[in-house]
């Protein structure tokens, strides 16, 4: 099998072979990743299928249930996959809407750090669908609405706000909302803020900014100047004295006095 390679040709050939081997090694490593991703995908499909088909059986064995959940956690599969069924459809009872509720809250919580707990019903719908496995029953926006209404017994923290034909879903109640504090901080320098200022410096959606400002107005923390050039300005009277009174020294003050 050996060729007696000698001279420059043999060296060149050897070098070529070496680089080829190296390339092959890289290809192998990449292959392996691709294959493992594929195995992960298979795992996911199987788990999703089992979650939707064998729910009752899985629940029966305590040990296996823990193991099943463990796998779901590792791969990122949703173990909740009840079908809607007749009774859910007609009466709204059964696990279907409760499960959906859990999935809805989960999506809201996962995105809270980005949207401050405000999400459009469309985006929520999309994300919930993505999180439910291939084998889970399809859900409509109407299903989402029903599921959110079921959460009412958990207090008023989770609500739907009608906005121009669609809904915003609010998952963070004002009691736990830190947005106001952030906006107040932003206003500190000038004494007022506008919607576009909030949008650009905090990269919030318009809806989120408006929501916070309206709350501040309602609470009497902000005043609205609609005649300002450009767009309405939200003034915060609490900041007036700090910003505008210190510029006057005692000497100036006595000069101003008649």
């Amino acid at each position: 099998m050996h060729r007696r390679g000698v001279g420059a040709g043999a060296i060149a050939k050897k070098k070529l072979a070496e680089t080829k081997y190296k390339e092959r090694g890289n290809v192998l490593a990449e292959d392996q990743i691709a294959q493992m991703s594929k195995q992960l995908e298979t795992f996911k499909t199987h788990l999703e299928e089992f979650a939707s088909k064998h729910k009752q059986e899985i629940r029966k064995s305590a040990q296996f249930r823990v193991q099943f959940q463990d796998m779901c956690a590792t791969i990122g599969v949703d173990p909740l996959a009840s079908g809607k069924g007749f009774w859910s459809e007609m009466l709204g009872v059964g696990d279907f809407y409760y499960e959906l509720g859990v999935q809805i809250i989960e999506v809201c919580l996962a995105l809270k750090h980005r949207n401050g707990g405000l999400i459009t019903l469309e985006e929520l719908h999309q994300r919930v669908l993505k999180g439910r496995g291939k084998f889970a029953q399809d859900v409509s926006q109407d299903d989402l609405t029903r599921a959110i209404k079921k959460l009412k017994s958990l207090g008023n923290g989770f609500s739907m706000i009608p906005v121009g034909g669609t809904y915003l879903v609010q998952s963070v109640p004002a009691e736990l909302n830190m947005d106001h504090t952030v906006v107040l901080q932003l206003a500190e320098k000038k004494g007022f803020v506008t919607v576009s200022e909030i949008r650009s410096s905090l990269t919030w959606e318009t809806e989120r900014a408006k929501h916070v400002l309206e709350h501040l107005l309602k609470e009497g923390l902000a005043w609205l100047d609609t005649q300002a050039a450009g767009e309405p300005q939200y003034w915060l009277p609490a900041l007036f004295s700090e910003l505008y009174s210190r510029d006057v020294s005692p000497e100036e003050a006595s000069q101003l006095m008649p």
Binding site: Y21, R24, Q39, A62, N156, S171, A174, P237
Partner: protein, 382 residues
């Protein structure tokens, strides 16, 4: 040249023809072989050569035998060639025209051109590796018969084969385990480990198994599983059930509450608890009922309902007296405070801080100055 085996020129079931080229001569190493004028066929699985005159005369080589291949440009009186380097023949290979050969490579000489296109398609086919996708039914037999040849392989080829074998075995394990529920239950422990090892390997190389933050969050919540969730089946349906449930809730919520500054909306609690319970879903009503029992059971948690109707679960250390004391301390420190300023100081929401200040005022510890600039609180010196 000894890697070739006799073929009938027909394609297998899953095999498809990619390209063919007339007028190709084969070289064993650098020497002309006895196959001087024929058609070279490339399929998804094999490289075939068929004699131009006698169509029965056909030889083939599986693409998996190819290590790599390179172009060799045409010269004066020389046709363009493709040099194909091959793995050593396996011991139990089917018979072919050559019993042995000193060379580890063959040359395909394109006397009627077409080498550029052929080379391109060959590259494509080699990267697609379609021959690896063997349907499951056919998989078992060929792997067993070729076992003897496989174990002998060394070097890169050996490594490749080992990896390939391992992959196939893993695939087989997964598909067997998920055949039906009883099988999965039997192999559950093994599968849990396998899933973890796959996920970990991918995490090592790519950072995380998924880009989707919702799915990552789901994984995180699920991973805090409860081993023995309190259910109606295990604890009846009456008060006893709710009592046990309350105790379990207190256990699992302690840490998350501490992480979140001592307070969580009940909806968040609902999601967290249900994810930890996995398939043992809890209804919102049961959750509320259990939370109402925190106080009776003297657990360190409380359900709190704000005037706005918002419900939260909070740690008991969040109690009124402490809140008032801290609010008063802060106001005394600064001389005076508004709700917004206190919120910033304590890192809580404006509504909560306002509530605390009002509470302290009610208890007579603070007094207010209500002006156009807003509501400001001072220590009560009266």
């Amino acid at each position: 040249m000894d890697r070739f085996i006799w073929a009938n020129g027909l394609l297998e079931i899953n095999e498809t023809l990619v390209i063919q080229q007339r007028g190709v001569r084969l070289y064993d190493g650098d020497e002309k072989a006895k196959f001087d004028m024929g058609t070279l066929l490339l399929s998804t699985h094999r490289l075939l050569w068929r004699d131009a005159k006698n169509h029965e005369y056909c030889i083939a080589i599986p693409l998996s035998q190819i290590v790599f291949f390179e172009e060799q440009a045409a010269g004066i009186g020389k046709s363009a060639k493709i040099v194909v380097h091959l793995h050593p023949a396996s011991a139990n290979k089917e018979p072919g025209p050559y019993q042995s050969s000193p060379n580890n490579y063959i040359k395909l000489s394109f006397r009627e051109h077409g080498q550029i296109e052929f080379y391109r398609r060959l590259t494509e086919t080699m990267t697609q590796r379609r021959w690896e996708r063997v349907p499951a039914s056919q998989l078992i037999q060929p792997t067993n018969t070729s076992q003897a040849g496989r174990t002998r392989a060394v070097g890169i080829v050996g490594i490749e084969r080992k990896l390939e074998e391992k992959r196939k075995e893993t695939d087989k394990n997964i598909s067997e385990a998920f055949e039906d529920l009883s099988k999965l239950m039997e192999k559950a422990k093994e599968m849990v480990e396998l899933s973890k090892s796959i996920a970990n390997k991918i995490k090592d190389k790519q950072g995380d198994i998924t880009e989707d933050e919702t799915i990552r969050f789901k994984s995180y919540l699920l991973s805090m599983g409860i081993a023995n969730p309190v259910t109606r089946e295990t604890h009846g349906s009456g008060t006893h059930y709710h009592l046990q449930l309350a105790k379990q809730l207190a256990q699992i919520l302690q840490t998350p509450l501490e992480e979140r500054g001592g307070m969580m909306a009940l909806t968040e609690v609902y999601c967290l608890v249900n994810r930890a319970r996995g398939m043992e879903l809890l209804s919102p009503e049961d959750l509320v009922n259990a939370c109402k029992l925190f106080e009776n059971l003297k657990l360190p948690l409380r359900l709190r309902i704000f005037d706005s109707g918002v419900m939260v679960v909070q740690l008991q250390s969040h109690n009124e007296q402490e809140m008032i004391t801290s609010a008063v301390d802060n106001v005394s420190d600064k001389g005076s405070l508004t709700a917004e300023e206190l919120a910033k100081l304590l890192g809580i929401s404006v509504l909560l801080s306002k509530e605390r200040l009002l509470l302290a005022e009610k208890m007579g510890n603070l007094c207010r100055d209500d002006s156009v600039e807003g509501l400001r609180f001072y220590p009560n010196l009266f």
